[in-house]
């Protein structure tokens, strides 16, 4: 009887003294990277003391380190049941659930843990898109150089956008905006006839909508229909005389059509509306050069080179300057610019020949 009682007492008294030892051994094994040993030790600790929340937590964490997410969930849940505020518990369980695709279940844990990056992803996966965008934006503010976060933020924003556009299409199918949206979709698919048709319908319904002419003009420009592009860009500049983009695009179309003087005027205007834009300055230099105004061409291209040093636009500016100086008989300057042009060329053999 006494023996039996002792056994019962020992059984009751023994484990609590050994469980912390196994817990400690598990922690040490984890530090040494012996994850399997750590699991074994943590398991012994939890068997010896089923109330030892820290052992359950550590066991769950090791499983997560081993990417055995399904195995991690039960001990983490147990840890939280034993100690609802145990540090790291909600975060680890949230991770484990999210990793297995249980985004909805993960969300409350990640909310409690205040882990914005994982929470944003969970919200995205759960389809709670506006909240996902807001949460991921906060996470990105803290980690602006995280490519994963940038990816999920972009994806969430895109899905929100799609959701909104789907709603627009469903609720207002005959609106100018719905036709504009459909036109944009066709434009992405390079389906010129349908994109054009939808843009024109949008314009018929609401001709004064900002950017519609610009977008239609861009569609024509992509299709190399520069005369039609010019017409649309001109309408956009009339609608938005303060838009540097519209003026730039009109200038570009005019250059393509060989109307260099008119192009110059638009590009100068674009430059005045938004200064120090290398693309505008380069094209202004080109229009001026083709229009015979070498001084303006030189000034514009030199300005480009103050803004850009090693880009393809800088290479183009050097090439333009070389031609300008060659025409003026300034051989040394022309050679110098050509050297800079060659230096900036890609080594892919696109413009280089091979010498035997």
């Amino acid at each position: 009887m006494i023996g039996a009682a002792l056994a019962i007492w020992l059984a009751f008294q023994g484990p609590p003294s050994e469980a912390p030892q196994h817990l400690h051994a598990g922690i040490e094994a984890d530090k040494r990277g012996q994850l399997d040993l750590a699991v074994s030790e943590f398991q012994k600790a939890t068997q010896l003391d089923p109330t030892l929340a820290a052992a359950f937590l550590d066991l769950g964490q090791i499983y997560i380190e081993q990417r055995a997410y399904a195995s991690a969930v039960p001990p983490l849940k147990r840890a939280l049941a034993l100690s609802p505020n145990i540090e790291g518990g909600h975060q680890l369980l949230g991770y484990a659930l999210l990793a297995q695709g249980y985004a909805v279940e993960a969300i409350p844990h990640l909310e409690k843990a205040k882990v914005e990056d994982a929470l944003g992803i969970a919200l995205l996966e759960a389809g709670r898109l506006p909240e996902a965008v807001a949460t991921l934006q906060k996470a990105l503010a803290k980690h602006p150089d995280d490519p994963d976060l940038l990816y999920y933020y972009g994806r969430a924003s895109g899905l929100v956008s799609k959701q909104v556009f789907d709603e627009l299409e469903a609720r207002f199918p005959d609106s100018a905006r719905a036709h504009q949206m459909m036109a944009q979709d066709y434009a992405v698919l390079r389906d010129l006839p349908n994109a054009e048709k939808e843009f024109l319908e949008a314009l018929r319904l609401r001709s004064q909508t900002a950017d519609l002419h610009l977008e239609l003009g861009e569609l024509y420009a992509r299709a190399q229909q520069w005369d039609k592009a010019e017409e649309q860009f001109r309408l956009e500049t009339e609608l938005q005389p303060g838009s540097p983009e519209a003026a730039y695009r009109l200038g570009e179309a005019l250059v393509q059509l060989g109307k260099f003087h008119d192009a110059r005027l638009e590009l100068v205007r674009s430059d005045q509306l938004r200064q120090d834009m290398p693309e505008t300055l380069y094209l202004l230099g080109k229009a001026a050069s083709l229009d015979g105004d070498d001084a303006l061409a030189e000034k514009s291209w030199i300005h480009v080179l103050k803004l850009e040093k090693d880009t393809s636009l800088a290479a183009q500016a050097h090439f333009g300057l070389a031609g300008l100086y060659r025409k003026q008989g300034k051989s040394a300057e022309a050679s110098r610019e050509m050297e800079s042009f060659h230096r900036l060329q890609k080594p892919a053999g696109q413009t280089q020949d091979s010498q035997n």
Binding site: R190, L192, Q316, D353
Partner: protein, 524 residues
């Protein structure tokens, strides 16, 4: 009212066969040469068409293109007095021509000054020089002449670079490629690869020794010291030094301008001359080229046909050895930005005294519409009339899209109005007969005595217009050697000739509307 009536004249029953495969061998999409020549000197232009050949899918080594079946032959069509054509391939000794090789293009020139135009056929493989025997037949003299080349030849042209009175030969070569090292590009689209996927190679210059043989002068002349991906070649004396220079259209890289130093050597100077890249310093997908004076300033300009979104390049000859990129102000930005051009000519189709533009068009990729729905594989030819240096689209007589490749120009029916022949890859050629109009004209043929017999390389000025005598240019094609001048309302013309020998000749008050043959003055 269209300028042309596009049709297939009676008897011209040629069908080009390129045998496209699933392997997307690049040679499949590049052939289709055509020549306009009067091989029997009966005063009527005849038509020679280059076939490509049979490919197996896939090809196994050693590469041999069986062209024994008659549908794969190159074809010579003799023009009859009634305007119909007769296939004289067999009678001319050209049957089975090209066997073992995959056909590309053709050059025409009287290399032995015997008064009969000879044929040089370029191939993927061995090229062939056919001597015109003068009796309606040809003889393969390639081995004796030493002009087989090898590799992948495209455009070729006869010219006299050393002014010795014997026509030399320039052969462009595209790249180092063979069917065993071919690739398929475009991922899921499975299409032809861009040229940069394969190594560049050299062009060949053959110097005519004057005894029926040629010497490979590529290295000695400097032509062989630079590698390109060359498809087109055209000739003119751009700096007026009396020696013919060479422009080479390269695909996907800078273009070459070989300045003739006058001592048997050339210097490539495209970049410094401004005739190599676009105004933005971008390379071009150069395919066809023409080297003639489009704006009547007396200096030959260069036009290069390219792929869509590049705009056909027009390099204006500013004088002093410099060119400027004038594609946009000449109207080509609007006309060609969505097109792919191959064979090209600058001819005065409406006889108004300004050379107009004609381009055979089609994309390289036969499945381009799946890759980019904004582009088209088959396209109608481009006709653009020249209004004092600015080109404006005109009706070519057909809107039917074709896979245009070669293009040759000449007055087929001797009515004083220029016609054109365009080949279609894997299809039938189209002949564009000019309806004519009210403008006067003059056709000038040269008969060299000190210079080469056809005066190839001579500069001829008629009422302020300038042409350089050549059968070369365009893409893998050869045009009539006669020079056509539209005179507008003028009923007489002043003809000024500078012969390759240096001799100069002026003819005043030449009556319009005639075929004039001018004989070079004998040495005094």
């Amino acid at each position: 009212m269209p300028i042309f009536d596009a049709k297939l004249p009676r008897g011209l029953d040629f069908t080009h066969l390129n045998s496209p495969t699933r392997q997307k061998y690049l040679i499949e999409t590049m052939g289709g040469g055509v020549a306009l020549l009067d091989y029997n000197n009966d005063g009527l232009l005849d038509i020679f068409l280059v076939n490509s050949g049979r490919l197996t899918d896939p090809m196994r080594g050693p590469e041999l293109f069986d062209r024994s079946a008659s549908q794969y032959w190159n074809r010579l069509y003799r023009q009859n007095p009634d305007g119909s054509f007769t296939d004289v391939t067999k009678a001319a000794g050209l049957a089975n021509a090209g066997d073992g090789n995959y056909g590309m293009g053709v050059a025409v020139g009287d290399y032995d000054n015997d008064g009969y135009p000879d044929l040089y056929v370029t191939n993927y493989g061995r090229n062939t020089l056919y001597h015109n025997n003068g009796d309606g037949t040809f003889t393969d003299v390639t081995t004796k002449a030493g002009v087989a080349a090898g590799g992948w030849s495209c455009s070729a042209g006869f010219f006299d670079y050393d002014n010795d009175g014997h026509l030399d030969l320039f052969v462009t070569r595209y790249m180092e490629w063979d069917t065993q090292h071919s690739k398929i590009c475009g991922g899921e689209w499975q299409t032809y690869c861009p040229p940069a996927e394969f190594p560049s190679t050299t062009n060949i210059l053959y110097r005519n020794r004057g005894d029926g043989t040629f010497e490979d002068a590529s290295l000695r002349s400097g032509i062989g010291s630079i590698k390109g991906r060359s498809l087109g070649v055209s000739f003119a004396d751009y700096d007026d030094d009396g020696f013919t220079d060479i422009f080479v259209a390269n695909d996907g890289m800078r273009q070459f301008l070989f300045h003739n130093n006058g001592n048997g050597t050339f210097r490539e100077c495209g970049l410094e001359a401004g005739a190599s890249l676009t105004a933005d310093g971008k390379p071009l997908s150069g395919m066809g080229t023409v080297f003639q004076d489009y704006d009547n300033d007396g200096r030959p300009d260069i036009l290069v046909t390219v792929l869509p979104r590049e705009v056909y390049a027009l390099f204006h000859n500013d004088g002093g050895g410099l060119f400027s990129y004038r594609s946009l102000e000449s109207g080509l930005g609007l006309l060609s930005a969505a097109s792919s051009g191959w064979g090209v000519g600058l001819e005065d189709f409406d006889n108004d005294g300004w050379k107009d533009l004609f381009v055979a068009q089609s994309h390289v990729l036969d499945n381009v519409e799946g890759i980019d729905p904004m582009l088209r594989y088959k396209q109608p030819p481009l006709l653009a009339l020249n209004h004092k240096g600015r080109f404006e689209r005109a009706d070519p007589g057909t809107e039917t899209p074709i896979a245009g490749r070669g293009a040759a120009f000449g007055d087929l029916n001797n009515d004083g109005w220029m016609d054109a022949v365009v080949t279609s890859l894997g299809g039938k050629p189209l002949v564009f007969f000019n309806h004519g109009g009210s403008g006067h004209w003059l056709s000038v043929a040269l008969r060299g005595t000190q210079s080469n017999r056809d005066g190839i390389g001579a500069r001829v000025r008629v009422n302020g217009q300038t042409r350089f005598v050549t059968t070369a240019g365009s893409y893998i094609s050869a045009s009539d050697k006669r020079l056509h001048f539209g005179l507008g309302p003028a009923e007489t013309a002043k003809v000024e000739i500078r012969w390759p020998s240096g001799a100069r000749q002026v003819l005043d008050e030449v009556k319009a509307n005639q075929f004039l043959e001018v004989r070079e003055p004998e040495k005094s």
